[in-house]
Symmetry: C2
Subunit: 205 residues, 2 copies
């Protein structure tokens, strides 16, 4: 109660000093302008929260799609059964781990996003989210790019290095991993939006 | 001469304002504390500038190291001469383009970084840098991760997909591309630091 009063008075003094200095109507006008400013930042915070929900969907889709790839070809030789799974290739294993970490982080970040909605002027939670979101931009992009490089190789092969394309045989496998890569890139783009929005909301005025 | 005097006075007042809080010197003390805050933000801006110089070095090193890889083996068959170059593999071409773009952007961003040093309270330049730095985090990380996936494959091969390791033959080539990937990851980490520092400097108080 007392701290609330103190805040109003402080704000009143600041803005009257800044703008015109109408002494009589000052506290009400200031309260309103503060509310409007808070409303703008609150809108950003709500959009932040919604984007995080979409990012959870994309990251989880990428993780599960890649994690459940397992295609066994219907023919086999005496020594070898042809089977493709994500853990044959380290890049895909990294992809699954990176997207799983991103999903977990996103769920844990939801409470901080809610704090930003409830208190639009608090900068601590936003700064924390900005730092970790930046790390996650890097992590999800790295996973997606590494997997994309291998997916490209699986589709096209490389004559210079004598690497053959394997997607003629493993067509389902290739479709699944391509979809997972796309989902992960979507998650990375959402993380980039989150970083930029945090920067906007941290801005002074 | 005059500015020199003013500085001396400010510094003197700052220390008295910070430590003891003499009521009589209040307006001066406020000016001084604002000055000190500007100094803190200016320090971040100078560090930002220095980090950009390091990032230019790392990105240029990555670009040139990868762009000049060209190893021809001393033996050849009737039909084929064994040669490895960065443009045999699309991931390496993307790597060179991404790091070249990052180098160019970094050079163009230096004036904006200088604006932040000269005017530590201006948020426009910082916000612009934050947005583009975030994009560059993504671009350099994507290039580095895609190249790293291929480098790993070149070193180790993959038995499941029947891709052979080519680094036994192309040892110089593999050393060069590994070095380029490391340089690019260093550039990506510096970009992440730049984003976080911009977020810190954009913070209100």
């Amino acid at each position: 109660m007392q701290s609330g009063d103190a805040t109003t008075i402080n704000v009143g003094d600041r803005s009257s000093g800044d703008h015109k200095g109408k002494a009589a109507a000052a506290p009400v006008a200031i309260k309103a302008s503060k509310h409007a400013k808070g409303g703008w930042k609150r809108g950003v915070a709500i959009f932040d929260f919604i984007l995080r929900l979409f990012a959870i969907g994309a990251a989880l889709a990428a993780t599960t799609t890649m994690g459940t790839t397992d295609q066994t070809l219907p023919f086999f030789t005496q020594f070898f059964q042809f089977q493709a799974s994500y853990d044959d290739l380290p890049a895909f294993t990294f992809f699954v781990i990176a997207n799983a970490i991103a999903s977990g982080y996103l769920v844990l970040s939801l409470p901080f996003s809610i704090v930003s909605i409830v208190r639009p002027h608090a900068t601590g939670a936003r700064l924390l989210l900005l730092i970790f979101d930046t790390v996650m931009v890097s992590l999800t992009t790295a996973g997606a790019a590494a997997a994309a490089a291998i997916v490209y190789l699986a589709h096209n092969g490389n004559s210079g290095a004598n690497w053959i394309a394997i997607c003629q045989q493993f067509d389902d496998f290739c479709q699944q991993i391509s979809g997972a890569v796309v989902a992960s890139f979507i998650a990375a783009v959402i993380f980039m939006l989150l970083v930029v929005m945090s920067g906007l909301a941290l801005r002074r005025h």
